[in-house]
Amino acid sequence: MADNIFEDLGHRDGPATVADRLAAEALIVDVDGFEGPLDLLLTLSRTQKVDLRKISVLQLARQYLAFVERAKALRLELAADYLVMAAWLAFLKSRLLLPPDPLDEGPSGEDLAAHLAFQLERLAAMRDVAARLMARDQKGRDFFARGVPEDVMRIRTLRYTATLLDLMQGYARIRTRDEFRPFVMDRDSVFTMEQALERMRGLIGFAGDWTDISSYLPDGWENDPVRRRSATAATFAASLELVKEGRAELRQSETFAPIQLRRREGRDV
């Protein structure tokens, strides 16, 4: 990205002096390399060549603002973070330069400058210890664990247990259940639609002519009224399903007349 920027610069601004270009390059080539404005400030602060504790925040603010100006002049797009920091540093600069406003209750310019210095010092310190940490002997690089760890063999024994009370409660539960079985549905005399459909799918191929659907009732279901009712309902529902599938046609000459069914013509089954 940086390279592109500089190519662009060359085209747009015409020949710039070598010195200008180098100066711009020195900082700006690294815009992508900076991890945010604090990182950039830390880098800038190094140019002061003093202990971070003695850093001139005012001077640092000037350096930063100059950097941003230059970036603008070079029509570089800086991330919002950098501009927010620039605005704040401009504010800080004015605070540091102007006599304090007695009406202003906020922190003084010196307080703000001190905190910024603290942040920079802390960031520098964390970088330093991070480097020291990584320079330590590391496992798998400088020292090693056992190459053939022997797994601990786990011998797990499961013991099941129950009390006499569990046993009696269990038994009581079963017996209680036996005495109260009102919720059990007796499903002996129910012919389901699934059953009917399965049956009729097998038979429909032979129904070239109109046939009363009652002739499709399964064997043994025609006489007992309860069974007959269930089977008839299921067979009718299954017939409707077949019609819906386009495999059969239904007709009834008048109300309560027998319902007739035939295979739909022209359809292979």
Binding site: T157, L167, M168, G170, Y171
Partner: protein, 222 residues
Amino acid sequence: MSEPDDIPEAEEQSLFEAPPMGEQERMVEAILFATAEPVTVRELEARMPHGCDAAEALVYLRKRYAGRGVHLVKVGDAWAMRTAPDLGFLMQKETVETRKLSRAAIETLAIIAYHQPVTRAEIEEIRGVSVSRGTVDQLLEMEWIRFGRRKMTPGRPVTFVVTEAFLDHFGLESARDLPGLKELRAAGLLDNRPSPAAMPQLGEGEEPEDEANEGQSELFED
């Protein structure tokens, strides 16, 4: 170490350079510790600084580890460190977990205790659900039930009865000592009203998972 007298110049120089034997021993120790495979003398020397005598270092190291918790052992041509055989027991961890018997198992056991000798079909009839093989196997394994005589009915099905160990565990002298239905009722264990929680499981099949039961069974316990 015990090279012939007419050592070539290179050898002589490398002998000169080799670290002291104590250091070599440390090196062999570290390599054998960290390496997943047994290591041959040749490999050891290939990894150690020039001029080292791994074989000699191994002799010292072996002595050092004699009688320790870890031994230096020869595996084919190679060397490795191994746990002393008498300490093998430390590499095992025995744990005993006590778990409550599943509801299915308790009910099956109760039916066997109250109705023995009883066939599987009879148990299923009484419980109203099928009895999984796992449940019966578990009770057999615990030695709380055993096979009784075959029933003299068609198919001659096997029956189950409870064992001495069962009586022992539950502190019963005989299965006849189990409280009867009346006593259960008197003790309030046989509620006349079906507990609402007891209803939904009527059509339920066997629950093989103990864990699944664990939470559920809480609901049923008074």
